[in-house]
Each structure stands twice: as C-alpha cells, then as structure tokens.
C-alpha cells in the first residue's frame, strides 16, 4: 500500500503514515497522515504505507528529512505519544506493531542503518494503541491524541 504525492522534490520533508486500516488502532499513522495533508505546508510530501520494509527504504532513500508516524505497543496509556530520533539511536525493540508477515518498521530502520541507507534525519512518532484486532475505527483514547500528534508533526516540519 502506498498512496501519496510522488511529485514532491527530494528536498521536501517526507512524512510517511504507516498502518493497517483494518486493524483498529493500527490505522492511527494512516489517519494522522491524512489529517496532516489538510494543515501541512507546501514543502512536504505525505505518503501512506503498509510498513513493508523495502517500500519504506525506497521511499526515504536520498531524502534529507523523513518523519514516520506509526501505532506503537508499549506499556504506557493508550494515546501516549513518543518521539524518537532514529538516526541517533536504535528504536526500542518490539515498539512498532506490525501485523503482516514482513520485516517490521524497526527492522527496516536497522537494516538501513547497517547498509548506510538511512535518510539524513529520521524522526519516528509512535502513538500507543489499545486495540489491534481486526476491525475499523480508533479507540477513544487514540482518537483524542490524534490532533496533538498532527500538530506536533506539523511543527516538526515547519520548524515552529
């Protein structure tokens, strides 16, 4: 799955919302990306992806700055936001849920690090989910946090 603006220049910040529309809170990254389109400035490219590793690596290759948004599974409260600088240090293992039989988003980042294929800057926003079983719709806690998540990513892009 890959939907987005492929015409944007490589100098633009690339935002990739990751998730599965049919796994409840796992859709949080996709929904945040959709809402970001309405408020983000011109110098940004926004994509929605499944999180498949080779597609991610291809998307961020050669980019100066990339922001990933994905649902996370930690021990904190649902809706809690996390920000990681993935170029500086590896992400905590098992953080970003991935429901399909592929390499995970964390695997993609670590493979890219080993192969020297990370973008110049890679910021990962995780939003803690509550339900990841089959179905549509975010939990109330995650839904409440989406506006703050979108605003933080918007500020991250614009440098406000």
């Amino acid at each position: 799955m890959k939907r987005g603006n492929f015409a944007s220049p490589e100098t633009a910040t690339l935002v990739i919302g990751i998730g599965n529309d049919f796994r409840k809170d796992d859709a949080a990254g996709l929904i945040a990306a959709k809402r970001l389109r309405a408020v983000a400035g011109k110098n940004v490219a926004i994509q929605e992806q499944s999180g498949e590793a080779t597609a991610l690596m291809e998307a961020w290759q050669g980019r100066a700055k990339v922001i990933l948004i994905d649902a996370a599974k930690c021990t904190g409260a649902p809706g809690t936001l996390h920000r990681f600088d993935a170029v500086k240090r590896p992400l905590p293992g098992g953080l970003l849920r991935y429901s399909s039989h592929q390499l995970s988003v964390v695997d993609a980042i670590e493979l890219a690090r080993a192969l020297n294929r990370l973008p110049g800057e890679l910021i990962v926003y995780g939003i803690e989910g509550k339900h990841f079983d089959a179905g549509k719709g975010l939990s109330a806690e995650v839904e409440r946090s989406i506006p703050e998540l979108v605003e933080r990513v918007r500020r991250e892009i614009s440098g406000d």
Partner: protein, 433 residues
C-alpha cells in the same frame, strides 16, 4: 552416548524468523529421539466457516486476508476454484497476467525468505541485520529482488500486500502494453541480480541430509506450474484436482490447532519449491536449468537445506517468465470474462511460494458459498517437518544443545512455514532425559 548420563532440557521460547505463534517440543530419552511435536497453538481463524453465505465474488479478497505474504496464492486458488464451479475458463492475456502476478508473489516471498530469514542461518548470524554488517552487497541485492517482486504485485494488483485488482474471471483493470516499460527495465536488472545471488547462495555450506520423501506438486504439460495442471508426486500420484479428496485427507492431531494433511494410505509428503523443482525441472527454460546446474544442483534435489538454492532458482525463473509475459503481452478487450452464477462445486490447486494450496467450494444457484475447504501448504508439510527433525536430531545427537537447537530451527525454516496460513506458529523446547 554422553547424553544418556546427562539429562538436559533445551528451550527456545520464540523461534525467530518464522511467522506466527506455536512451538516445537522435542523429547530425547536415553540418547534417542522419543518424541517430536510441532505444536501450533494459535487459535483457528474459522475462515472456511465464515465464508459460508458470502458471494462467490467476495471469496478471493476474503481468503487473501489469510496471509500477508502469499495473498496472491489465495486469490488465485479461489478464482480458479470458483471458475471451475461456474464452468468458466480464463485464457489468453488474462491468463498470462495471472501468471505474471504470481511471478511477483514468488519473487517477493522467496526474496524475503532467502535473504532475510534463511541465509543468516547458514552463516551463523542471528538475523539479516547482523548479516548486513558483513555482507552488505548480498543483503542489498536481496532487498532489491524483493522490491522487484513488490513492483510486479503493485503494478498489477494495486499494492504490494493484499492486491485489490483481482476478481473471479480476471481483473478489474488491465494495463496497456506501453505501461509495462518501466517495470520491464527494473525486472531486467533484477534478473541479472538473481543470477549473481544464485552464484552466492550455491556456495553456502549445506548439511548432508536427505530422506525418502514423497514430493507433491502441480505439473502442467508445458509450463513450470503456477495456476494449473495435474497434481503429481514422485511416487506415482497423478490426479486431476477434482480428485484431491480421494487421495488426501486432513487429520486432527491432539497437540496442534492446525490439521495435518496426509496422502491416504501413505502418510506424510513434501510440497513447496523442492517438490516443484524435482517434478518440473524439464519445464524450466534451458538458461534457468543451466543457472541451477552452475549453482550446484542436478535435475533433482532431495536435501531440504538446499531449498534455499531452489528458491533462488525460482526467483530467477519468475523474473525470466515475467519478462517473457511482458514481451508477448497484448491488452485484452475486456479485463475479465463474464460470469453468471450457477450451482456447482469447484476445485483448484495453485502453487503458493511455499507449496500447493488447495481450495474447494460448493456454491448455490445464486453464487453463495455453501461450504469451503482450504488446505494450505504449511499444513501439508507439518508431518514432513517433524520427520526431518526426528531424523536430523537422531543423526546429530552429540551436538551441544545450542548448536542442535539452532540447526533444528534452520531445518524448520527449510520449509518457509507460514503459520498464519496453517493457523500460526513457534516456540522450541528440547527435553533430554
């Protein structure tokens, strides 16, 4: 043997690089393998039950959700079974496009398994990330090959996982001839890469291990099989797919949630790349045969550890076949043949990356599913995996626990098991008493 006097227990809670949840239990008593159980404890997902009452047109998309890595196989088996029930034959460019889509899935799936999941075993790495630090070139090549498979599935199917362009009777939308040009260029580069990869894979160290397997796969009069053919075996089976139920049976086994499939009166069998290769070597194009020989294979291969070479040969074949299909392609007048529901029973078997995938459906006059039966390749290989482990451990009883455990995991990965298909998989425990 020293193990007789030294009771030991080995336990690996999560077997890495195999998807799903389940376990392996091995009991070694008095220096002999007393028990091997492949335990799949993931709950059943009841796909066959909730397909009842659904329209025949929905079945390819519903069954595709059984697996995130071989959805095309589910779509193809479902489409062919429904078309069989409805008396429809999809031919010409539409048939060729289906083969092309399957090429994409094989490359995608084999690319992931060969380079990211299985190759690290042979070189002593925990995973592809650690392997990438020492073998960046081959891991990069593997990623590029996998991406080439993704590109085919995305181009024809609309996205790389769970394509949305497949329907009973054909496709929703078909490309024009010129649309293929950028894809063809990528696939040519990937084919060159597959040849390089095959050279590298063929030089990995392989344990010396063979058993008297019964290999089972499709066989087509002219083609290396994807979608069509008779089901044949290395021990004389040769049947039309409609006769599947006369020769194969699924058995409940108390310790696992996945059914075991066996050949009636004979027991376990082996499906997947090794079976396809052994039963269809003569259907590979001569340049692919030659590449296989250069990588150290004969026209048959009975060592399951060498399945990694055969998978790479199949990557090369799939890319070669994809380019042939693209070269000969002419856009069909319609993206799908017309379908009218009628009462009937339909059967199909297609070759998923990890083996034969059987579907049978009974539908009513309105095209609603009355009942369904789906037998995925991992269910079919379960007994053979257990047999391999029993034999392999017997021959290597003196290995230290950690080495033996590692090699057991590697032996399981020879089959690229897809536990979410079988229903899911794996923890490993070895008891020595």
């Amino acid at each position: 043997m020293s193990e007789k006097k030294k009771p030991r227990t080995l336990k690996v809670d999560i077997l890495a690089r195999v998807e799903g949840e389940g376990g392996l239990y091995v009991k070694i008593k008095d220096g002999k393998v007393a028990d091997v159980k492949l335990i799949i404890f993931e709950p059943p997902r009841f796909f066959e039950a909730f397909l009842r009452g659904r329209a025949f047109t929905e079945v390819p998309d519903i069954t595709a959700r059984i697996c995130g890595i071989c959805p095309v196989a589910y779509m193809m088996s479902a489409c062919h079974a429904m078309e069989n029930a409805l008396g429809v034959k999809v031919e010409g460019p539409l048939r060729e496009l289906r083969r092309l889509l399957y090429c994409g899935e094989w490359v995608e799936s084999h690319g992931l398994h060969v380079f990211m999941l299985h190759a690290p075993d042979f070189l002593g790495y925990d995973d592809a990330i650690k392997m990438a630090k020492d073998h960046a070139d081959i891991v990069t090549l593997g990623l590029e090959l996998k991406k080439a498979g993704n590109d085919i599935v995305t181009f024809l199917g609309g996205r790389e996982i769970h394509p949305i362009n497949v329907r009973v009777g054909g496709f929703y939308k078909v490309p024009g001839k010129s649309d293929f040009k950028p894809l063809a260029e990528k696939l040519k580069r990937a084919r060159d890469g597959a040849l390089k990869a095959l050279d590298w894979i063929g030089k990995l160290p392989f344990p010396d291990f063979e058993q008297d397997y019964e290999f089972v796969s499709l066989r087509h009069p002219e083609e290396y099989p994807f979608n069509e053919g008779r089901l044949v075996s290395s021990k004389g089976l040769d049947i039309a797919i409609g006769k599947y139920g006369d020769h194969f049976v699924e058995e409940h086994v108390s310790y696992t949630n996945a059914l075991h499939s066996v050949i009636k009166g004979r027991g376990s069998y082996f499906t997947g790349p090794l079976a396809r290769y052994n039963l269809n070597f003569d259907r590979l194009p001569p340049p692919v045969q030659e590449a296989a020989r250069m990588a150290g294979l004969g026209s048959t291969c009975r060592n399951p550890f060498k399945s990694i070479i055969v998978r790479t040969v199949e990557i090369l074949y799939a890319l070669t076949e994809a380019l042939r299909i693209i070269d000969a392609y002419e856009r069909p007048d319609q993206p799908a043949v017309e379908i009218h529901p009628r009462e009937g029973v339909g059967y199909a078997c297609t070759e998923a990356p990890r083996g034969s995938l059987y579907h049978r459906y009974r539908i009513d006059s309105q095209g609603s599913v009355l009942d369904a039966n789906i037998i995925p390749p991992t269910s079919q290989n379960q007994k053979t995996i257990e047999n391999d482990l029993r034999e392999y451990i017997s021959r290597h009883m003196d290995l230290p626990d950690d080495t033996l455990t590692w090699q057991c995991e590697q032996a399981i990965r020879n089959y690229d098991p897809c536990i979410s298909c079988a229903t899911h998989f794996l923890k490993l425990k070895i008891d020595r008493t």
